[in-house]
């Protein structure tokens, strides 16, 4: 036989018009994966990077050693936060369609990631999110109107009109600024965690990137520094299968799991059902305890599905089957937690409907307030002078001059 080198091109399981195919997703039964001691050495627990930690089974029953045994109020709160995230996303998507905001990105189908993880952390822990982690703001109690004002670039925008919609930050809530440049926050979170260790504080850091972004060098910088200094950090790869049109195989997911990059660097890597609120909570709690007790960093791969378009500028019908999410084997995180609560006798369809209606109203009321502070092209506007602030701490002479020139230009136009 004539053997030759060949160029492999990752396979994409299904394209538009084809039947969705998720046979490539390795699943473990709920409750089946062992839960190692939080102080286990990374080299002894590499099975966690291969298996899939799941707690909720298909009937909504919670099983196995990762069951976090949360009290009912926590579960109901988790459901509320996830539902609010979704209602907020839907409403903001609509306002973009109406031309009120310039751009939006939903987290549909991935709500458990941000919500369960933020709930499993402490308020003093520092979060370095990506653009699809709006749920962390919801959990930390950020007023929705604040998020909306950022989306509107209006007079109450915490970014003073400088960032694209969804690029929030929140100093008081310990949520770092979102960058448009992918993956940059990952090694920064490691540095933050190193500083916490240097200062002898027990706060930890957590960061999120998409599996697509894990291709960037910054991902590898993060793992290396986390490993070398055993930094108290949780590094999350949200494997929602798609990076705009690019399937996860092109980020290296075809040959090995993303979690398996952890053991490669000598840090714990763990693969979890990202649509299972209980499993995500439990795994995050485990990783946080490791970090807080000196057992070092953890890389978590959250297996989920980007049910929505990448952003309001994207049309996924061009590159994947339309009914993909309906066939996604890990289901919908909200439906699964709801099913679990109903099974416990602590929730019902009626209560769910009532909650939805309440949250719709909450979002609508916040929107009503937010637009009174202005919209991109209507109502009160930020002073354009602000453009020159914060480039430096103090305005240097050349920017003072340019600001004068801009004022003259505006005066001329009016």
């Amino acid at each position: 036989m004539n053997r030759r080198s060949r160029l492999h091109v990752p396979r994409v399981p299904a394209r538009p018009g084809e039947a969705p195919d998720f046979s490539y997703v390795d699943l473990s039964p709920a409750g089946a994966v062992a839960r190692p001691d939080v102080n286990a050495r990374a080299r002894d627990i590499s099975f966690l990077a291969v298996e899939l930690v799941r707690v909720l089974d298909d009937n909504g029953e919670a099983l196995g050693p990762w069951h976090p045994h949360l009290d009912v109020h926590e579960l109901q709160l988790g459901l509320r936060h996830m539902l609010l995230t979704r209602v907020f996303d839907d409403r903001m998507q609509r306002t973009q369609r109406q031309g009120r905001i310039s751009f939006y990105m939903r987290s549909l189908g991935e709500e458990a990631v941000s919500v369960a993880q933020a709930m499993a952390l402490r308020p003093g822990d520092m979060l370095f999110p990506s653009y699809r982690n709006q749920g962390v703001n919801i959990v930390r109690g950020r007023p929705l109107v604040d998020l909306m004002c950022q989306l509107l670039s209006n007079t109450r925008d915490m970014c003073k009109g400088r960032q694209l919609p969804v690029m929030y930050h929140w100093v008081a809530g310990n949520i770092f600024s979102i960058s448009g440049n992918l993956a940059t926050q990952f090694p920064q979170a490691v540095g933050w965690a190193m500083a916490a260790a240097i200062k002898g504080e027990d706060h930890i850091a957590a960061s999120w990137i998409g599996e697509g972004s894990s291709a960037e060098a910054d991902f590898h910088h993060a793992l290396l520094f986390a490993s070398v200094y055993q930094a108290p950090v949780i590094l999350n790869v949200v494997n929602n299968q798609w990076a705009i049109s690019t399937f996860q195989g092109f980020a290296g997911g075809e040959q090995r799991s993303f979690a398996a990059r952890g053991p490669g660097y000598g840090i714990a890597g763990i693969r979890v059902d990202g649509n299972d609120f209980l499993a995500v909570y439990a795994v995050t709690q485990w990783a946080a305890e490791r970090a807080r007790t000196g057992a070092g960093p953890t890389l978590i791969e959250l297996v989920t599905y980007r049910a929505s378009a990448h952003s309001t500028s994207d049309d996924p019908a061009r590159y994947r089957p339309k009914d993909d999410f309906d066939r996604w084997p890990l289901g919908d995180p909200i439906a699964r937690l709801k099913q679990h609560l109903i099974r416990l006798g602590e929730w019902s369809e009626q209560r769910h409907l009532a909650l939805s209606a309440e949250l719709e109203e909450l979002v609508a009321a916040n929107w009503k307030e937010a637009v009174t502070y202005g919209m991109l092209n209507e109502g009160p506007r930020l002073n354009p002078d602000l453009m020159f602030d914060d480039v430096f701490k103090e305005l240097p002479p050349h920017l003072q001059r340019q600001r004068e020139q801009m004022r003259a230009e505006i005066a001329k136009k009016d």
Partner: protein
């Protein structure tokens, strides 16, 4: 002649080069099956195959490094960086490697890589989808830097870039993809089909790098510009009734010094305009050069028009953009000086 917008013209250039030269390969994020977020490579993977049009991981440093390796091994890679704002993870590979490979190996190794990337603002992209970083790269010795302002040039210049044995950074002003833009966002969009430079031959042709285009001949003053500002500056001069000679540089490296200086020596007045930030921008190079070469012909200090020296702000896009008002101020200053 066929009408094309800039996206179609660029697509046609790549299609032709993939067909003519088996060593040409395309690579980039979302460019293959999907055809690119601006649809510039639409249909090319289907036509030329998955080994010629590669979807890549999201790793600009990796894309450019791999393109260099391919180039060294006889291919002619055309790498797309999805937005110029995302070129920086590849900065070291461009500055330390791509630009200097020929020099440090005394010509024994080289990598004929073209890096295409959409640049510029005016699409509400905020500070990470609006930058014009071309000036940073003109400061690097060993890469050519080009920016077309219309479909005809875009196609011919991209073919010339791909055929060039030196690396080329090819900036595409995305605000011009679908039509010329005079700087007024409130006017209805004008398609390329209404513009003579939207007439683009179907077949192969080149527009050489290093040859500026006199977009409009004139005698009152010279406007030296490129990219989106070509239209903005010409419109501002026309609105003032000035007989301006408008020069579209097309490429900054190499630079067509002759065309610039011949014009300035004729008119005695000059405005330099680009969308990129002002401080240490490419305009500063132009002003220095014109001053050195044309000092005794100048009737007035040369004026510069540029973006403010701040990141591109989402909410203040049109206060930031160097529109007609900013150009007019510069034109007045250069015409009024005795």
């Amino acid at each position: 002649m066929p009408q094309m917008n800039m996206i179609q013209a660029l697509n046609s250039a790549m299609d032709i080069m993939l067909t003519r030269d088996p060593s040409v390969v395309l690579m980039g994020e979302d460019i293959g099956y999907f055809g690119g977020v601006f649809r510039t490579t639409e249909g090319l993977q289907r036509k030329h195959g998955e080994h010629r049009v590669l979807d890549t991981p999201i790793a600009e440093g990796g894309i450019i490094a791999a393109a260099i390796g391919m180039g060294v091994n006889g291919l002619r890679p055309v790498a797309e960086i999805q937005f110029a704002d995302y070129i920086y993870p590849g900065f070291d590979q461009i500055v330390s490697e791509l630009a200097r490979l020929r020099f440090r190996t005394a010509g024994d190794f080289f990598a004929p890589v073209t890096i295409r990337t959409p640049c510029g603002g005016g699409i509400r992209g905020g500070q990470t989808h609006s930058q014009s970083p071309e000036g940073i790269f003109t400061h690097v010795c060993g890469v050519k830097v080009a920016m077309p302002s219309n479909p005809y040039d875009a196609k011919g210049m991209l073919i010339a870039s791909i055929e060039d044995d030196d690396p080329v950074l090819f900036f595409e002003p995305k605000r011009l993809y679908n039509g010329p833009f005079d700087g007024d966002p409130n006017k209805p969009a004008v398609p390329w089909s209404t513009h003579p430079k939207g007439e683009v031959p179907d077949g192969y042709y080149t527009v050489p790098l290093g040859k500026a285009d006199i977009v409009r001949p004139g005698n009152d003053l010279t406007i030296v510009t490129y990219g989106t500002m070509t239209f903005v500056a010409a419109a501002a001069a026309a609105a003032m009734g000035l007989d301006a000679e408008v020069i579209d540089l097309r490429s900054m490296v190499p630079l067509d010094v002759d065309t610039i200086c011949t014009s300035v020596k004729k008119t005695g007045r000059c405005v330099v305009a680009h969308e990129a930030t002002r401080f240490s921008g490419f305009g500063a190079e132009l002003v220095a050069l014109i001053q050195e070469e044309c000092f005794w012909n100048l009737e007035a200090p040369i004026q510069r028009v540029a973006g403010w020296d701040t990141p591109y702000p989402h909410a203040f896009e049109w206060e930031y953009f160097p529109g007609q008002a900013r150009v007019t101020t510069a034109l007045k200053a250069v015409m009024e000086s005795a």
